[in-house]
Symmetry: C2
Amino acid sequence: MSAVDQAFHGLRRMIADGRLVAGQRIPPESDLCEELGVSRGSLREGVRMLAALGVIEPRHGSGTYVSQLRPEDIVGSLSLTVDLLPLTGLLEMYEIRRVLESHAAAQAAARITPESLSTIFAYMEAMEATEDPERVSALDQDFHAEIARVGGNPTLKSFLGVFRARSRAYQVFTLPEGPRIKRSSDEDHRAIATAIANRDPVAAAAAASAHVAHTERWLHAFLPRAPEPDPEPPASPESLSGA
Amino acid sequence: MSAVDQAFHGLRRMIADGRLVAGQRIPPESDLCEELGVSRGSLREGVRMLAALGVIEPRHGSGTYVSQLRPEDIVGSLSLTVDLLPLTGLLEMYEIRRVLESHAAAQAAARITPESLSTIFAYMEAMEATEDPERVSALDQDFHAEIARVGGNPTLKSFLGVFRARSRAYQVFTLPEGPRIKRSSDEDHRAIATAIANRDPVAAAAAASAHVAHTERWLHAFLPRAPEPDPEPPASPESLSGA
DNA sequence: CCGATGAAGTCATCTGATGACTTGGGAAGG
DNA sequence: CCTTCCCAAGTCATCAGATGACTTCATCGG
């Protein structure tokens, strides 16, 4: 076992065993070096690894603290890596996104409040009223984030946010078919919002699933040379019957 | 921006921009230090951060290489952190697990081959025939992994594997109600396997969803003091109709 | 042709020193 | 007594230098 691994797993063990709890300041570097039997350099590399994973947070001048270990934060650390996936890899994750976005929409339909509903409609109508790609992107983010929030699972909201952040980078609205895509996207959003307003989880799930499938198809335009393959039909078995 | 951040984001940028591609060896430490304007120590900390996230892989004596950037590997890096979540946080993720396990089972039902089917039944029957917690855990892992494999999405398989690895740590079969839980689990597995054998995605999804919900309930026994709250009905809207 | 050897390249680790930042207590003033 | 300011201790951040360990590959001898 390398020195860095010793430091990494040693610290990880301390947290797993409950010796260090969420929010607590961990012992200073010099103490940990002695206990774990590694030099400061190796210890710091191990600390950085845990920090990259969102488990601990060094604060200059103050100390290093165990994070709150909230699942939404842990999932959020994926945003640093999802951006690096090749597009083909990203599209492989879209099957997962489709299922989860669908679920979140269904949950939102079941739990929607009047306040959230008007917020959602406001975002949607603002989106319909503009063509500025930048603004559309921002509103799209707000629209879906609010739906995910209403869905009630912060971890799921965070997870879906990671996907959208990556997808936004592609700026599909600047494609030649941009305007057509924009109209189609607007229709999808209205279908989702309407289903939620009707408190119809099944319709909401179906609309969200279709929306993601559309996005997936548009992103194929950015693939090097792949004229819309269709290995994964947008309407999968359980989506057909269940969403 | 700190020196470590400079190193981390500098390297990340090189990969995002395509200057470093999957599988490629990155320049030696000394070159990168000069280019990024940081010392070796800081550079190495940045490298370790990317390594923890599964983006690059240092090899002693040979060099540091960009990983294959497969989404299943990236998702797999979550296994290092999911183990550290408090049980309450883990249970929050179970809503996600339930939806995805359900989806994987449905996909498996649609795509099952005779060979995989007999493998799945073999695992199931072996599980039914033993009471050894260790062996049951291993077979449970194999059973679900094979279903996820047949589902056809490696990323989803990896993601579900992360959850199961954590859940196994709890050894529910050693509880006082262990034998009862074991029988219930056996029944769940048979329901899933039968639905897949019948090529019935809807039934498979429903059975898988129920199975995860059961696991969720059993894990509540390990909570400090929470007598089975039920904020999230096992049969959520779209699960009822859609799965 | 093949295996052993050695040198070069690269990462791994340790040590020591200095700088930057945060924190908390104490002194000064109100 | 309370508030404000300041400083000293504690802690992380960074750099520089040196040595060790491991891999790789070309070279040499059989």
